[in-house]
């Protein structure tokens, strides 16, 4: 009888057990949320680029559309350039990118897409106007697209996606010339 009483006294009360389990579940939910946030699909060289949707800046469009999904561009070579108006090295390559776009745009076989990484609207439009950029550009304020493309160092970074939607090349830093850009695009085939 005395042993039973002692055991009962030493046992953890039900309310304490409930609280401990509730806390444990809460902690696991927190860990799960963190893991889910960290496990977004990301592109790797040689692998298919996860599909993403972008809405172009006002005044920009491609084939009469103001937004697009990457999968809509299957069959074409896609060059995605990540830039920002606060990025000085981006300014070095901006004229070359526009010049190269002028060479490719009529054939409609290679598509240039500018992705403006975490920028302000004023800065972005000022930059686009300053360099007379005409190829479609879209904001990436929450860095969703740059995360999918697995942005590695900073900006500028340029991604070459082939006709099957496979990531072929990544260029970190600015292009020095149109010839370098053309050689880079040539790697898609």
């Amino acid at each position: 009888m005395t042993e039973e009483t002692t055991l009962k006294k030493r046992g953890v009360p039900l309310w304490a057990q409930i609280i401990v389990w509730a806390l444990l579940v809460g902690f696991l939910i927190m860990v799960g949320i963190g893991l889910k946030r960290a496990s977004n699909p990301m592109a790797e060289i040689g692998g298919a680029v996860p599909d993403f949707r972008i809405v172009y800046y006002e005044g920009y469009e491609y084939n009469g559309k103001s937004e697009m999904k990457l999968s809509d561009l299957r069959g074409k070579v896609v060059l995605v350039n990540i830039w920002a108006s606060w990025c000085k090295p981006c300014e070095q390559e901006a004229p070359e990118l526009e010049e190269a776009w002028q060479l490719y745009k009529d054939a409609d076989d290679v598509v240039f897409i500018g992705v403006d990484y975490v920028d302000t609207p004023e800065g972005a439009f000022g930059y686009l106007k300053k360099f007379g950029i005409t190829f479609p550009n879209a904001p990436d304020l929450q860095s969703t697209i740059s995360s999918i493309l697995n942005r590695q160092m900073g900006v500028p970074e340029t991604y070459l996606i082939d006709r099957q939607g496979v990531l072929r090349q990544v260029k970190i830093g600015p292009f020095a010339s149109v010839a370098e850009l053309q050689a880079f695009i040539g790697l898609a085939d």
């Binding site: 806390l23 975490v118 302000t120 929450q142």
Partner: protein
């Protein structure tokens, strides 16, 4: 005298035009001065100071250079965002409206602390509860460790009873061991 008279008669006639011009000039000058003073006063009123901007910027984090408050971040990107805050303040936006704009555009990562909504409450509730629970468990454990000592020192009879029961237990174990040998 004639000469003086002539002079006095001629003087007002010749001075009328310049005096009118002086008045007109003075009026225009005063109007212009007033205009510019008013403009500069208005500009001073509508352009928020660095302190006003930083008071909000310190509650926001640079979306590019992680873990750096916006008010002390030296990059060009952060300078642009501080200018954006200044512009929004000049437009009459409140601190909360500015924060909401930044969260809507750049995500909750720009906030110094996660918004108190939805599952985010877990981040605020679970850690303090765990700390309190841990403190309670430690307290209970210390109490449990202290009790037997108090019991032993307080009641010699109970202690003797316990030791005799222990002796009995040891004796039985020894017997069992002998049997096995």
């Amino acid at each position: 005298m004639k000469d003086r008279g002539r002079r006095t008669k001629k003087a007002p006639a010749s001075c009328r035009l310049p005096i009118a011009q002086y008045f007109a000039f003075a009026l225009v000058l005063a109007a212009l001065t007033g205009f510019f003073v008013a403009q500069s006063a208005r500009a001073q009123e509508t352009t928020p100071s660095d302190d006003e901007v930083n008071a909000i910027a310190k509650h926001l984090y640079c979306p590019v250079c992680e873990n750096t408050p916006l008010d002390v971040c030296p990059t060009e990107a952060c300078r642009q965002w501080r200018e954006l805050i200044r512009q929004m303040l000049a437009e009459g936006k409140s601190e909360q409206e500015i924060k909401d704009y930044f969260v809507a555009n750049y995500g909750a990562r720009v906030l110094a602390e996660p918004p108190r909504a939805g599952v985010n409450w877990l981040f605020y509730l679970v850690p303090p509860i765990l700390i309190l629970g841990g403190a309670f468990a430690l307290f209970s454990a210390f109490r449990a460790w202290m009790k037997p000592k108090v019991a032993e020192s307080d009641s010699g009879r109970e202690a003797a009873g316990a030791s005799s029961s222990d002796d009995e237990y040891v004796r039985r174990i020894e017997e069992e061991l002998k049997k096995r040998k």
